[in-house]
């Protein structure tokens, strides 16, 4: 579980460091400028990562906590 929690750092890296390297319009993805598409993709990935962390977190099995 501890290791899985480290995945929560990835959205920070993607959104805080990503713009320095990916600040570009082309190639457009699904009609969106690349930078916008990057953020949109990472919103989806963030939800997926949080779902994984939630699933593996033992505290969520206990109803009272």
């Amino acid at each position: 579980m501890r290791m899985v929690r480290l995945l929560a750092l990835l959205p920070f890296a993607a959104m805080l460091i990503g713009p320095f390297f990916l600040n570009r319009v082309e190639p457009m993805i699904f009609g969106m400028p690349f930078l916008l598409a990057w953020f949109v993709a990472w919103i989806g990935l963030t939800a997926a990562i949080m779902a994984l962390i939630y699933r593996l977190d033992p505290t969520n099995r206990d109803d009272l906590s």
Partner: protein, 495 residues
């Protein structure tokens, strides 16, 4: 009397009805009125949290920002997403402590953790000063929406009075339950409207999303990404980081954590809320679509982009539906702010004067203060002027100054004292005020620094001053005081 007018009127009535029904079968004691006796499951907590972020600022300001400044608007997508990631780890301990100590407000948390009701009073003052301009912003947005979407049938001033009366009425009646239940109508409508507009405008005017962004790129190269200077990647990253830290420091957002039935509800929301951020994408698409269709909006008028384009495109009855959604996005956060500000005034300021007051009396005081807070906000809305704009720009930075003291209170070791925490908050808030009122940026303060650093968000300076003041005072006190005089464990009896 036209279709638009009917839609907006229906929205106000719907909000009032839901707000009243929310009260059914509940005794409105302090705990019920402020935090619904900690009974909400994941859906209602979701609606409260979503209700707070999808404000008129998102609706008008988000599309206006995309229209006026382009790529930098993406920061709004990022900061809330990152704040939800942090919330998974940070909020459950806050919720648990609040339940165990029967806390009702954000200021209660600081007061209890630091065993100092004066620190609680300071935190509530910072909160109220930040909340009032935020409320004014909602009322202003409501006035604009009703005036444009109603084709002038009702003036902005009348609309502000009506909106304030509706929100005040159901907040007094139902407290936080009223906000949560009106949020049901608001979020269903806003999602439908925004997603529809965000898809329809690009397709209708350009044929496809790619064609729209291609046309913008041809007309304004680089507009849909970050500029090389000014709002650069450095500005972007530092702004996202600061606003992420400040996100849960808003008193009404912090208070909504308390309504959860258990900590799991909060963790479930940390999984789902990032996806809800995608609604913002459609808000941005509306703003981008407007660039070449309703050009020429300048200054504060960029916030009209969404409605100008809607009025140009649709029949009045569709504009009425959009207007109704807009009215609800003003009423729901407005009602939460009203409730929170009144609670802070009653529970964290008034209670310090009348220390023997029972909870039943406090909730009576809080409910009586709701119309007072509303009147103050209506006054500033109608009076307008520079002061309120200045306060508004400072609001987010103000509440962010609570972050260091909050984080330090969550660890087992007592790192700082109430005086240290207060020193940090006062120094940080003072710096924000000084920097904002003199319109300073890092570039004007330190012109010799390299461009990358000059483009960092100036809020970082206030946060740094805050942490430095907190550290100096804490270390100074620990050195000069005998060990026993510094309490090393939080005591929950202080209120």
């Amino acid at each position: 009397m036209n279709g638009a007018f009917l839609g907006i009127g229906a929205a106000a009535l719907l909000a009032l009805t839901l707000g009243f029904l929310a009260r059914r079968g509940q005794q409105m004691g302090l705990g019920q009125w402020t935090v619904a006796d900690r009974s909400f499951g994941a859906p209602l907590v979701f609606l409260l949290m979503a209700g707070e972020i999808y404000t008129t600022f998102t609706f008008l300001g988000g599309s206006g920002f995309a229209y006026g400044r382009g790529g930098p608007v993406y920061y709004i997508l990022c900061y809330a997403t990152l704040a939800y990631v942090i919330s998974y780890f940070m909020l459950p301990p806050i919720w648990r402590y609040a339940r165990d100590n029967a806390l009702y407000s954000q200021a209660d948390f600081f007061a209890a953790k630091y065993a100092s009701r004066w620190l609680g009073a300071l935190v509530s003052l910072v909160g109220i000063v930040a909340l009032i301009p935020y409320l004014v912003l909602q009322f202003k947005g409501l006035g604009i929406i009703v005036e444009i979407a109603g084709y002038g049938a009702i003036g902005a001033k009348t609309a502000v009075w009506i909106g304030a009366t509706v929100a005040t009425t159901y907040v007094i009646m139902s407290g936080v339950r009223g906000s949560a239940w009106t949020a049901v109508a608001k979020d269903v409508m806003i999602v439908l409207v925004v997603v529809f507009l965000g898809i329809y405008f690009p397709l209708h005017y350009y044929g496809s999303l790619g064609a729209m962004f291609g046309a913008i790129e041809a007309a304004k190269p680089g507009f849909t990404v970050l500029p090389e200077h000014g709002e650069s990647a450095w500005w972007f990253s530092s702004t996202v980081l600061l606003t992420t830290l400040g996100f849960y420091m808003w008193p009404h957002t912090f208070g909504s954590i308390y309504t959860a039935r258990n900590a799991r509800v909060i963790r479930q929301n940390a999984v789902v809320l990032p996806l809800y951020q995608l609604v913002l994408l459609f808000v941005f698409l509306v703003g981008f679509a407007a660039i070449l269709q309703v050009p020429g909006l300048k200054g504060p008028d960029v916030d009209l982009a969404l409605f100008r384009l809607s009025v140009k495109t649709f029949d009045p009855w569709i504009v009425g539906i959009i207007g109704a959604a807009g009215v609800l996005t003003a009423l729901v956060p407005g009602s939460m702010i009203l409730m929170t500000a009144a609670t802070l005034l009653a529970n964290n300021l008034y209670r310090n004067v009348d220390r023997s007051a029972a909870d039943a009396h406090i909730v009576w005081v809080a409910r009586s203060l709701v119309p007072v807070v509303a009147l103050v906000a209506v006054y500033f809305t109608l009076a307008g002027g520079e002061t309120i704009v200045a306060l508004l720009l400072m609001g987010y930075s103000f509440v962010t100054q609570l972050f260091p003291a909050l984080i330090l209170s969550l660890t087992k070791t007592r790192w700082t004292t109430p005086v240290g925490a207060a020193a940090g908050i006062v120094a940080g808030v003072g710096t924000v005020a000084a920097v904002s009122l003199t319109h300073s940026t890092i570039a004007t303060l330190f012109p010799a620094l390299p461009p990358a650093i000059r483009e960092l968000n100036v809020g970082l300076i206030a946060l740094a001053v805050n942490v430095i003041a907190l550290t100096i005072v804490t270390v100074g006190m620990k050195l000069t005081m005998p060990r026993s005089a510094v309490p090393d464990e939080a005591d929950s009896t202080a209120q």
